[in-house]
Symmetry: D2
Subunit: 400 residues, 4 copies
């Protein structure tokens, strides 16, 4: 490209991935594709091929399947949850290859349980999508900005034609010059909901272009921050907003976390400055670790960890010990759709009785309680000087 | 907790996860633990138990193992890469349960290849860790801020005692009141490096406390933004900084992406406003999707997607077509350590000839090229109106 | 403080500023205070003492007055505004000591005017205040989060007891652990409104503590981002949200801005990447310059520039030329209260017929149009290479 | 513009501001211009015309002068500073129209002084400018990224031709696709330095284009965050980085700030959450207030408050009382150039013995100590419930 190349390269047909009948999800064709990759690259894909179920089940979850990634799954807990949708002792499946992670979460969850458990609260349940509309000038866009809020009933109806589970719950406009970002809030039930949202929003947008003169749109504007970190996630949310809190008594801190309330608070206090100085979004010890491991285990859209991890961990000293909480404004979790129905994923959800309809809010509360465990455990490991030792002991991700 | 509970709850011993001999990594004990979970929760964990290899291999990657998550793995590509460390046609394994994702990346990679391929550049290779030191007052901290930069040789020596692969490459101090954040930059070779970093930094910190009067430290300050999104990642980086770019000729745009250069640029241009308005970190279409799928397939620390996805996608119109690029300032990828040695993960790396020592930079260039494919494909799908249809066709993450 | 000092220093009474009768706003006492400073510091404060009006007028605007800062005031324009509240040609007073600034804004405003003028739109008019409430645990806070939205009428009544001009227009809660941030939106008419807001919010908070068991509050939580830059400002706004846009025809670009549409767009396009890479809030060329100069001239609360400058400048190529716009989501401007009634400030407002009640929306539209002029002029100066020369010619802020 | 207007509007010559001989800075021509504005707008500009000095002095600071904004100036202090460049008791001039502001800062400064004074530390002194270079493709840009750091001596020489006071102190490159952002750090002595920087950077850039084949550049990329809030300011800095800290003993807290250490800490602690939730840059109570008032009084570039206010305020409980600090990573202050030489501004600087060469670091330390006073006073007012009352008493910025 030193001299800009504009010639189209002719790939030989043999370089393209094989196109197989019915997209090739049956075991034989998955094997054939895998063998093609082996031949083409010299790789040996023995273990990837060891799928314990009929690969036809993967249809709708992946294309060009060659098998499975086997990600180690362990179990942490128990964590005692006092929520509205989840109540009792829970064991939490986590899939990861990071040594010491599960031990750390387990320790935190047990400490929370010994402290009397975790109170959780589901505060909002709305996913966001923000199409954007274009106009010829500022005044036309202004007219639209004022017209649209009055059309809510029509928009609801249009959206409803595409989904039985979704429901338009909010509508905001943000005009920027002659462009208008339209923020639809949707309730998406037990599904993560992005596909539902896109279809519903697109239907609403099509109604709009039929009814407002001369406008065009894109169904995405980037504002909704799906799988991105942003300030928007904090003020507008995405999916479930959940908070979880507990009071750690001095005895539990000393016996199970090997530190005092003051020491654990000092970690929070000093790392807050590090976060501020880094200009981070939110504040937390390692929410991404726990969320990722739970998301992989349970068939969530793992890329959503980017938004889900924009949470706020909070510690506060009080006479009786240390109050700790975690708040997740953008927890996009599901118990139906996506990967939640795949065999191991569904089994993992079943450990927490979170399979299927009516379970997403329950799951959200458990997740919040579980990751709170990780936050206190990490903090305690740092303050007690056990962090390095624990990773030395449990981890092995050092090159040999 | 309406009345703050400070009583310690006595968990019955039967509620705690079983502690097994040698932590229980052999097949029989993994089964016993799994059965314990089944009994305790009523779940049936048949497929989770189907590990195709000796679970002893998981030691160091997980605790309390019960089996594996089987995440569907597919293959995308080929993408033609013109890099320094990677050169040629590559097929990229991706593990995901999000329908349409692989098809989308595949389309983008093929379009890039037909355009003559992707130029890549590795621009930095340094991981960051930022311990923080505490002093009695501002003047003591100032004395430290001025003393420390002169001790670089000693710090290097101290760090070196813990690692053969790591190397201190940068040292910066950020004093905030009477606290001093000390930013160590380390070259970590082919490893993701956080464990190596923590040990090396801790050794350097211990040297410091022996040589500077009256200071304390925590080995983490939060500033390094490991698994968090922040502005720091953009200016200071984390792991590999890689960029990948290509020129899409008009013909390729029309034939393979079903849009014009102007249309694809319009998506970039308008969604930039959405990102700005959301106060997002970086700008991209869906970097997290591709990164997550590759990270799961290849045994990366998947939670690192949160930092790795803080990238910048860039489109620019030129006479011959559309120039497109993606820049990843914080791509923490590895070819040794962590989950990279697990059976399916190692096989996935082998598809790209990225197994083991000396391959991390090659892998980084391939990853950058691959996700550039996803960026253009997503943009094209939106502008051509194919996004909804494609998800309707390939996805099924809608509740039934 | 090397040994932490906890002794209280006894300042000699002669070190404290003189306390004068009635706080000392009459000319004689202002002089006496000034002379005291002169004696104490050896400074000669001749010009600071040259106040052209009775300093009693400063009461309520300042304490310990010693005179005035005389900030050079110039005039820029005309700018042709097509707004709802402002319509016609406007001349804009700007107070600054930065050479070349007014010339730059003037050039931009004239170019906009020659292009047919600027369309403006007022999109929101609501200031924000966010008290925060504390509870004993997560469940109590949750109960509050659900109770509060139903009390809107009571809150409105309570707030109304403190102000005739303010009006509660929005109410949102953000629970974080056991703390609940309560976002009150208020319409504040022609005043900047913070004092009005604080009083009204405080009254509402006092009603709350009388009616919800066991809660405490602080009237500020920091979330409202008064005089701070934040993502909140973009999604929730502060004061007036205004946008201004115009189409610059090719001829105007060439003749008055000495560049082409493509060149000016290239500046926007490339500096967008710089903003993204800096992790800036919003995007603009130099909004702070114009806003500061207008704010000083017209008696605004100048520190509000920090929030007001979080705007988004947007350029878009079209066949006829370059469409340009600026969007200010947090323009906290006033035509009553604060410094707007001081002699020179009121005169400056009168140049735009923006004195007193009913004029704040008019003023907001003029400000938006004016700063759009600065955005295009700065961009043009960079692209045409005139930036350095212009500052060489007009500026002199180089040390001699 | 409903129908896009591309006709160029013919302004009547009488609408343009009068062009006067030698740009019209003498008293008579300033008066003539002012009268023109009066005639044109009907405004009466009596007080604006009352300049107490020869307006020729404004040349280089403003264009189209019509007089001055008279901004009330008061005095706060004393604040006892223990710095390297400033040491002793200082009185700080502040120009503002916000009632209660000076009283609040005065109270805080006196409390700091009674506590034994403020330790300050100057930690960095470097302004930033980031030109951006464009290349045909990623590989050419990579070649440049690697070539440039070796040319530092040449760049220094080229920059040096334009300035005797500035000095190249740092050089970093950030490649994004085929664009390379080049971050020059400059020491700018006692000047704010932007004009010096632009000339020096432009000279360096011109040397580059003569010596590296086929590149173009813009002297600005937006990355340096001049007059903008960004994460870059925290990690890379801008101008002086200063920190100021003090220990407030319990007695001082009780007697002068009417609160306990615990109460004041509780404000910091809870508003931290508000800042995080707003996704603010930095954390502070109201740095912008004090900075703006000092900047106006002393002839600083007031728009720089936007970057300067991106600071971090920190509180920490200790046995003896409350440790408090403020850190300003981007304090762009000057004692030469810009408005610092204007009559009232120079007088204001002289109150602190900060006029002219060799005084900028002194001034920076005083500013940091002064604004720390404002941070603690604001916090104390909120916690003691005095905030509303104080504004009721001292302020009057309520509409009548």
């Amino acid at each position: 490209m030193a001299v800009p190349k504009t010639d189209i390269v002719e790939l030989s047909p043999g370089d393209l991935l094989p196109r197989l009948k019915d997209q090739g999800y049956d075991a034989e064709r998955v094997a054939r594709r895998r063998e093609w990759v082996q031949r083409k690259t010299g790789a040996d894909l023995e273990h990837i091929g060891k799928v314990s179920y009929d690969p036809e089940l993967m249809r709708g979850n992946i294309e060009n399947p060659i098998g499975v990634a086997q990600v180690p799954m362990g179990i942490a807990g128990p964590v005692l949850v006092h929520g509205e949708h989840a109540s009792g002792l829970f064991y939490v499946p986590m899939a990861t290859s990071e040594g010491a992670l599960i031990r750390s979460y387990e320790r935190g969850m047990v400490a929370l349980t010994k402290s009397g458990g975790v109170q959780t609260a589901l505060l909002a349940d709305e996913n966001q999508i923000v199409p954007t509309f274009f106009f010829s000038d500022v005044h036309s866009a202004r007219a639209f900005s004022r017209w649209l809020p009055q059309q809510r009933e029509h928009l609801t109806t249009a959206a409803q034609t595409t989904t039985r589970h979704g429901r338009l719950t909010d509508l905001k406009t943000y005009q920027v010059g002659r462009q208008v970002l339209v923020n639809f809030g949707f309730f998406t039930g037990d599904a993560q909901g992005m596909n539902m949202l896109v279809k519903a929003a697109d239907a609403a947008c099509q109604w709009i272009v039929r009814n407002f003169p001369e406008c065009r749109y894109f169904v995405f504007s980037g504002m909704s921050s799906e799988k991105r970190a942003s300030g928007f996630l904090l003020t507008r949310g995405k999916g479930k907003r959940v908070t979880a809190g507990a009071l750690l008594p001095h005895d539990v801190l000393r016996m199970y976390l090997h530190c005092t309330a003051e020491q654990l608070f000092a970690i929070w206090h000093s790392t807050m400055i590090g976060h501020l100085h880094a200009n981070a979004i939110g504040y937390n010890a390692h929410l991404a670790n726990g969320l990722t491991a739970i998301f992989i285990a349970t068939g969530q859209d793992v890329a959503n960890v980017v938004n889900a991890a924009c949470g706020i961990t909070y510690f506060e000293l009080q006479k009786e010990g240390l109050f700790v909480s975690v708040t997740l404004p953008a927890l996009t979790v599901a118990t139906v759709g996506g990967g939640t129905g795949l065999p191991t994923q569904r089994e993992a959800l079943s450990i927490m009785d979170c399979v299927g309809s009516g379970k997403a809010t329950r799951f959200a509360e458990i997740v919040a309680a579980a990751v709170l465990g990780g936050e206190i455990s990490m903090g305690a490991a740092i303050t007690s000087g056990e962090f390095v030792a624990a990773h030395e002991h449990y981890g092995r991700n050092r090159p040999k």
